[in-house]
């Protein structure tokens, strides 16, 4: 196990770790440079950096986009770092970790979606990683892209495309027929189909945003409380809570534990789980197998 690593190996490792950490650091620097100093409590969306004029609608490049890209860059670094120095015989801790991730998602996809959707495991892993790390950006004070409806909406839209793609596997007639399963419920079926991506997007976005809102409200409340509790102290001590709201230290961390870490990871998991279930459920496996058999038989006859 204690095989000596070459200097170039360590150099690449260091570069990869920098590749993981630098985007996050850059994000913090950008945040500090662009956030105007304000005392007001405000619950607003992502900060707009610049607006690109586009045909349908102007395209604002906001914190959520930039932070998403930073997370992607960071995750690319993580992937490269985990797979750096992979070998079938010489095992490192990071290799075990990489194997664990891959095998866990493979197993999860296999048990939830079946062997047919084997190729989905990188997608599920990507959703989970992007969602979880986007939400966890709040830990370093950055705007979590998952609290932007557009970001999560884009993911949900992609999942909706996938669902529709797999529903179309047996042809458009079968697709249309699937809505009229009990014919009386056709409008409801159509609504539930459209509701799927919307509910997914709003569930994720709402959870993360509500966490941020509650955190902001709590911070404001604690600031006010510290002023009212300690503001009447004599001399300079009475002025201190206005500059440094003492009650804000530590207490929000407990809520942050739930809203930022637990909720962020849980929502990532739920989003990935729903993706798996919806996509696997959309695929008419039996009808598809029957169709394939028919095609096979036809081919045999023509042959």
């Amino acid at each position: 196990m204690s095989k000596r690593r070459s200097a170039s190996f360590i150099l690449v490792d260091v570069l990869l770790i920098l590749m993981i950490l630098l985007p996050l650091f850059c994000g913090m620097v950008i945040k500090i440079l662009t956030t105007p100093p304000t005392d007001e409590i405000s619950i607003a969306g992502a900060q707009i950096y610049f607006i690109v004029p586009m045909p349908l609608q102007d395209m604002p490049i906001t914190e959520s986009q930039v932070n998403s890209w930073l997370v992607i860059l960071s995750l690319l670094g993580v992937c490269l770092y985990l797979t750096h120095g992979l070998s079938p015989t010489y095992e490192t801790r990071r290799q075990h970790f990489a194997e664990m991730i891959v095998e866990a998602t493979d197993n999860m996809v296999n048990s939830n979606m079946g062997a047919y959707f084997k190729a989905f495991s990188p997608f599920i892993c990507a959703i989970m990683a992007l969602s979880a790390f986007s939400s966890l950006l709040t830990l370093i004070g950055l705007y979590p892209p998952t609290s932007d409806l557009n970001v999560v909406g884009g993911w949900a839209l992609l999942v909706f495309f996938l669902i529709t793609y797999y529903k179309f596997k047996c042809g458009p007639i079968h697709y249309l027929k699937s809505f009229a399963e009990p014919p009386a419920l056709t409008p409801l079926n159509v609504i539930s189909e459209i509701a799927t991506p919307i509910s997914m997007a709003f569930r994720h976005y709402g959870n993360v945003l509500s966490g941020s809102v509650i955190s902001v409200l709590l911070a404001a409340a604690l600031g006010g409380l510290s002023v009212t509790l300690f503001g009447n102290l004599p001399g300079i001590l009475g002025k201190l809570p206005q500059v440094f709201p003492i009650l804000r230290v530590g207490i929000p961390a407990i809520l942050s534990l739930y809203f930022d870490i637990f909720s962020g990871c849980l929502q990532a998991f739920i989003f990935a789980m729903l993706t798996m279930l919806y996509v696997a459920g959309a695929f008419p496996a039996e009808d598809y197998a029957r169709k394939m058999e028919k095609i096979k038989n036809k081919n045999k006859k023509t042959n």
């Binding site: 405000s42 619950i43 607003a44 969306g45 992502a46 900060q47 707009i48 950096y49 610049f50 607006i51 690109v52 586009m54 349908l56 609608q57 102007d58 395209m59 604002p60 906001t62 959520s64 986009q65 998403s68 890209w69 992607i72 995750l75 690319l76 992937c79 490269l80 985990l82 797979t83 992979l86 070998s87 079938p88 015989t89 290799q95 990489a98 194997e99 991730i101 891959v102 495991s121 990188p122 997608f123 892993c125 990507a126 959703i127 990683a129 992007l130 892209p145 932007d148 409806l149 557009n150 970001v151 999560v152 909406g153 884009g154 993911w155 839209l157 992609l158 945003l209």
Partner: protein, 171 residues
């Protein structure tokens, strides 16, 4: 520049986010899953190779063991045959030696017997002649005249045969 509304829908942002997810999917697939799966396949191939090599080695060892056992059995039989042959040879040799010795001993005994017989006869003859001489002398003395040996031969022989008989009886 200001902020977005808390709930705002922007088509392009949705497209960007969709592309982001596709991008991270490709990254994860290419840089995490492909290498890990490749490594796992390599490991599996290596382990399979090890197993087949081990099975082959085991089969080889078993075949060798069987061959050795066969050889060992052959050697045992050979040794048995050798010992048997040697024992038979030795038996034969000892019989030969024994019979030879017996013959020799018999020869020696026979010779000794004949020699002893001869000696005895010689001695008997000697004694006879002596007795004859002595008795003749005695008779001469007694009778005062010369006894003609030839004349009295019959008489003496009778006597002697009597003596001899009494000798034989004593034996």
């Amino acid at each position: 520049m200001g902020n977005l509304e808390v709930i705002s829908i922007n088509f392009w942002n949705i497209v960007i986010s969709l592309c982001n997810l596709l991008l991270i999917f490709l990254i994860v697939k290419k840089f995490l899953y492909a290498p890990v799966h490749k490594m796992l396949a390599e490991r599996k191939a290596k382990i399979d190779g090890d197993y087949t090599a081990a099975a082959k080695a085991k089969a080889d060892a078993e075949a060798q063991e069987a061959a050795y056992r066969q050889k060992l059995d052959g050697a045992k039989e050979e040794a048995d045959a050798l010992i048997k042959a040697a024992v038979a040879d030795a038996d034969r040799r000892s019989d030969e030696i024994l019979s030879e010795a017996k013959e020799k001993a018999d020869g020696i005994l026979r010779r000794a017997e004949t020699e002893a017989d001869l000696e005895m006869k010689k001695a008997e003859e000697g004694i006879k002649t002596e007795i004859v001489g002595v008795s003749a002398a005695l008779a001469e003395k007694l009778l005062g005249r010369e006894i003609h040996e030839a004349d009295h031969r019959v008489l003496i022989d009778d006597f002697l045969s009597e003596v001899g008989n009494s000798d034989d009886q004593r034996k």
